[in-house]
Symmetry: C2
Subunit: 304 residues, 2 copies
């Protein structure tokens, strides 16, 4: 019954790719959410093949969850939010993919997160998880700040906090910086006898390995550790600046998303902390709205 009724309706799939997971949601305008699926890593900057595979896994799981036959994939209007596709070369590569959908619309994960957070309306988001960045969409104009990736940027993110914590621990082990509860807990974390023990363990590690240390920094800062407080405050000051910059675009709403949104809140400018509102929908629903808006615009263009 369901399969028949949805085939008369337009079917959408919203896909939110991330560094560790890929989430897919199948949505019908008449019936709402029909099913969801969860796949593996889908950050094309870390591997295109794996990203496309994770997209297909999450899609198939969502179809199964919706009780729809796998061939229904050809009827789906897909909205994809993926990291890094603001790089034209990467955008083109993914658009060249021989995808199984009826149509595919691609944008950045920031864009779909923003659309979701404000349920399709204008607004701004700051994402602080492994990385950090700001995005706003106001009167059809999108702007983004930060998000330059680990080491070059992403200040105030989990990876940045982990990196700063390791730097402080290494300075201490060299006798060039103070020993505090933070430097001790980091040194213990690595069971390292000396600086090289830490360097060896972090060699070639991805930003997510650094981000795992962020909780030590917040714990120590919340207990008044001077080194940790300086790191968290420096990161929070950057995030507050990012928020002020976004507010220049006059977004009606501002949300913060990601694992650091909650612990960072009390360290932000009071003015910014007051402005932050909870996201209404998750990024994968933002990707559904993005596909809907894209189909709508396309139909309007045809009508003109």
């Amino acid at each position: 019954m369901m399969a028949k009724s949805v085939s008369e309706d337009q079917l959408f799939i919203g896909i939110d790719g991330g560094g560790t997971k890929c989430r897919a949601t199948i949505y019908s305008v008449k019936q709402g959410v029909l099913g969801t699926g969860l796949g593996g890593p889908a950050n094309p900057l870390h591997g295109l093949e794996r990203t496309l595979e994770s997209i297909m896994v999450s899609t198939q799981l969502a179809l199964r969850d919706a009780g729809l036959p796998l061939e229904t994939v050809h009827q789906l209007y897909a909205g994809l939010g993926l990291a890094g596709v603001n790089l034209p070369s990467l955008y083109d590569k993914i658009m060249e993919w021989d995808h199984p959908f009826k149509q595919m619309f691609l944008t950045t994960d920031l864009h779909t997160a923003c659309i979701g957070a404000h349920e399709g309306s204008d607004g701004a988001v700051i994402i602080t998880g492994t990385g950090s960045c700001g995005f706003s969409c106001v009167n059809g104009r999108t702007t983004n700040f930060g998000g330059h990736g680990f080491a070059l940027g992403d200040k105030g993110s989990g990876a940045w906090m982990g990196l700063e914590a390791i730097k402080a621990a290494l300075l201490n082990l060299d006798g060039l910086g103070p020993s505090t509860s933070l430097t001790r807990v980091i040194t213990e974390h690595f069971s390292a006898e000396n600086a090289m023990g830490i360097v060896e363990q972090m060699s070639g590690q991805p930003s997510s390995s650094y981000a795992k240390l962020a909780r030590y920094v917040f714990d120590a800062a919340n207990n008044g550790d001077a080194v940790a407080t300086a790191i968290v405050q420096d990161g929070a000051d950057y995030v507050s600046k990012l928020a002020h910059r976004l507010l220049e675009n006059k977004p009606p709403r501002l949300s913060m998303i990601g694992g650091l949104a909650e612990p960072l809140n009390k360290w932000l400018d009071t003015e910014i902390a007051k402005r932050v509102e909870a996201p209404i929908q998750p990024p994968e629903m933002g990707a559904v709205y993005f596909a809907q808006q894209s189909v709508l615009e396309q139909n309007q263009e045809v009508a003109l």
Copy 2:
């Protein structure tokens, strides 16, 4: 004639491996330097196979330069100074190499640089080129500080300065930091229209690509640019701290080595700048002395 006379003498080869070049010097106690050779990159952290190949190329070129037949390689006592061999796993891998020398003695590039700078005597060195680190050898006890590699450490190095310059340019392009002569010259260097243009070009680049930007930072700082001055002073303060830490070990001499040694000098603590003396011999001669000392210690052990 020479081949005969040196065969009665002990022959040494000193090898200094680096990220871009490998230098070899053949040395006889009776006759001094017999020949030198220059090979390709020899940083085992960036590839073991290539390092061993560069060592062999520089060895063969040095033998040819000395007018010695290639088989003489089996008579050479080799001293090798290589980056990263303070990591036990890397040290063991290289010692397992089926090398052609009569005997091979391995230590870090820092150690051989220090031995060379002070002509086999005790002393300390600070190396500031692509990376940065400090090393001292006093009464048979070696200590090293810093040298934790790009992004984690290497403050005050060329790569660190390039990274900080790019961060400043990205902050400016996001409207979150000032526009100065430095941020402008960096943005022009990349012919980038926006922040992502710079991020895309630096993606996956090695630390040497960042180090190439260091000259812009010094030029701007010497012209009074506020952002560049803050970067150079921050880096120089770290190097001064490193020097004070090394002087705690009471080395009779302190040298600075590497491309940034000269431009950094005027930014150091006056006390440190006064203490810095020119290196007496290059690192590859340090590697020769290291091999000589190792053979001597070995003979003493046998005699005991």
